[in-house]
Amino acid sequence: MSAEIFGSWIVVFLTLCIFSYLFDDNPFYKAAEHIFIGVSAGYWAVIAFWQQIQPNLFGRLWPKLEDVGEGSVLQSAWYSIYKVLNFISTGFGILDRSIFPEGGIKGYDEIRLMYLIPFILGTFMLLRLVPKVGWLARWAIAYIVGMTAGLRFYSFLNSDILIQIKASTIDFSSDWGTIINGLIVFIGTMTGLIYFFFSKEHKGSFGTLSKIGIYFLMIKFGASFGFAVMGRISLLIGRINQLKDYSTAEFNYATPIISIFIIICLAIWSFMDGGNKNESTA
């Protein structure tokens, strides 16, 4: 079971490297940071390809059809492109088939030629590497920003304005406590909105209303901060719990050994270059 122990030592080492940042910027943190940047960039590139491009784009353009049969001429021409792509992707036949499995990608049951558009827009993005034709990427950016504006316009208007108006109604038949609380929420919302008025001077009665509004906002910020403290502490507890689990004999006392090692190195380093504390980089 040495793989298990090896794994746990790496976990403890990386965790303590990041915690060493609390003391100060030091070689351990720099190492952990750069490993993290490299691994996560690669991780997301792999996830993007294997869970987006291959299943959703190629899967829709060249699905594995049951009744392949002789199909129309157009269809066999279309699937010959698929074979060419596979030929290229397996390094002219050397590597084993990975990206384009035999006869199409399982998942969708009909060809969707509309998905050629994102395929083209995606290649336009990659054309950014060629300076002369780089401006084509603007078409892809234009599509994305247009889509964002259209989708978010309606979804925020609907869920964050209309439904909030509906929610501000008060059930007058219930007991006095709920009615008063309902009124407090109503007044708080109205004064909060008044604070967000830009084209009117916040003077006189308008100014006091907006002041009450900012008070409600401050209570909300304090409350969500208090809430966040709780959430963050529980994450720290989760980490320290794992370190505690890995400090037992079963993992060759991983946590104590590594933490002592790091503390000693930090002491030496801060003692050695105590002089040039503020080394600015080139």
Binding site: F36, Y43, M125, T148, Y154, L162, M190, L193, F198, E201
Partner: protein
């Protein structure tokens, strides 16, 4: 407040007449022997008289806004006709979304209307926002100390409006750094944001007349992952010690990581985001924070272009409409619960 007393009393009068009209239809078939139908004429006449009086008082006291009031009333009349007669157009519309469609149309028309008004030269007052004046001052401080300026456009991709707003603000900040010849460093977490940010910065440096200062790697990609990005930006901050840090875009949990590190290196920090859960962290840890809507209007503030300032005015008017709608819904829902009004306005908002 005396001026508005007449307007408020007239609009309450209109409200009461609407309720009486509603009550008459639902409950009585005849009153004091008068057939209901000829009562309609009496109500319509009194209704139009009060409406005319209201419009006259508004045009006398608020001449500038009379156009806006006519326009909103015209809109309401169109929607009423459209709902009552049900013009053929309804067939291409999904049943039940006519109200939502009319709200979208009303908001768009109000915004467009006030943009046109601003374009035609009307002066618009905008209250000062603390964070925006500080941008110039922060970049100036960075130039004096010979340090660079760090701009973080959030960790979301261009599928969030906050990122687009952040990039527009990046344009203004880039213009200031070009003018002051300060170093600008823009680490990004998404490749599409990298490309769009490079377009914006190249444009700003061109507009400031210093295209020579612009180089592509000023905007550089770190990683797609939220916390690896935060670790990378922390590293940049602690090693390069920028004098000014901007956090403008959509942020999640890593906002405090950046803000606390920025505070520990003593930089001026200006933050702005539309994510409600992160604003408390920015308010506590940064020098200036653009809260929610202030962040979205900041780009229009800085651009000084009339149509953008007009759209802020339009935004305020729509906010006024939303507040009026809330009050109206509250009252009408109260009446509905008390049984005085037959129509429950809340069903209007169901999707």
């Amino acid at each position: 407040m005396k001026k508005n007393f007449k307007i408020i009393s007239l609009s309450i009068l209109i409200l009461i007449q609407l309720i009486i009209y509603q009550y008459l239809i639902r409950v009585e078939s005849s009153i004091l022997g008068w057939e209901i139908t000829n009562l309609y004429f009496v109500i319509i006449i009194t209704f139009s008289l009060t409406l005319k009086a209201l419009l006259k008082t508004i045009s006398k006291q608020y001449p500038k806004h009379i156009l806006g009031v006519y326009f909103i009333i015209a809109f309401i009349v169109i929607v009423l006709i459209y709902r009552t007669i049900g013009i053929y157009v309804t067939s291409i519309f999904i049943e039940g979304t006519t109200f939502k469609f009319s709200v979208v149309a009303l908001v768009s028309m109000t915004l467009y209307y006030y943009i046109q008004k601003a374009k035609s030269g009307e002066k618009i007052y905008l209250r000062p926002i603390a964070g925006l004046k500080a941008i110039e001052e922060a970049v100036g401080r960075a130039t004096e100390m010979g340090k660079s300026v760090l701009f973080v456009p959030g960790i979301s991709d261009l599928d969030q409006v906050e990122t687009v707003s952040g990039l527009i603000l990046l344009g203004h900040v880039a213009e200031t750094t070009a003018k002051y010849e300060a170093g600008l460093n823009v680490p990004v977490s998404k490749s599409i944001v990298m490309e769009a940010a490079r377009e914006t910065c190249r444009e700003s440096y061109l507009r400031a007349g210093r295209p020579d200062l612009y180089y592509d790697d000023m905007v550089h990609y770190i990683t797609d992952d939220q916390f690896a990005y935060a670790a990378g930006v922390n590293g940049i901050m602690v090693r390069e010690k920028p004098a000014a840090c901007f956090y403008l875009g959509k942020f999640y949990a890593e906002s405090l990581l950046l803000a606390e590190t920025g505070n520990s290196i003593g930089a001026i920090q200006i933050a702005g985001t539309g994510s409600p859960s992160q604003i408390p962290f920015f308010v506590t840890a940064c020098d200036y924070t653009l809260i929610g809507e202030e962040f979205f209007t900041a780009s229009a503030y800085l651009s000084k272009k009339p149509e953008l300032l007009g759209s802020i005015k339009g935004q305020d008017i729509v906010k006024g409409l939303v507040m009026a709608a809330m009050i109206f819904t509250l009252i009408l829902n109260g009446f509905f619960q008390a049984g005085w009004v037959g129509f429950d306005i809340v069903t209007l908002f169901e999707n």
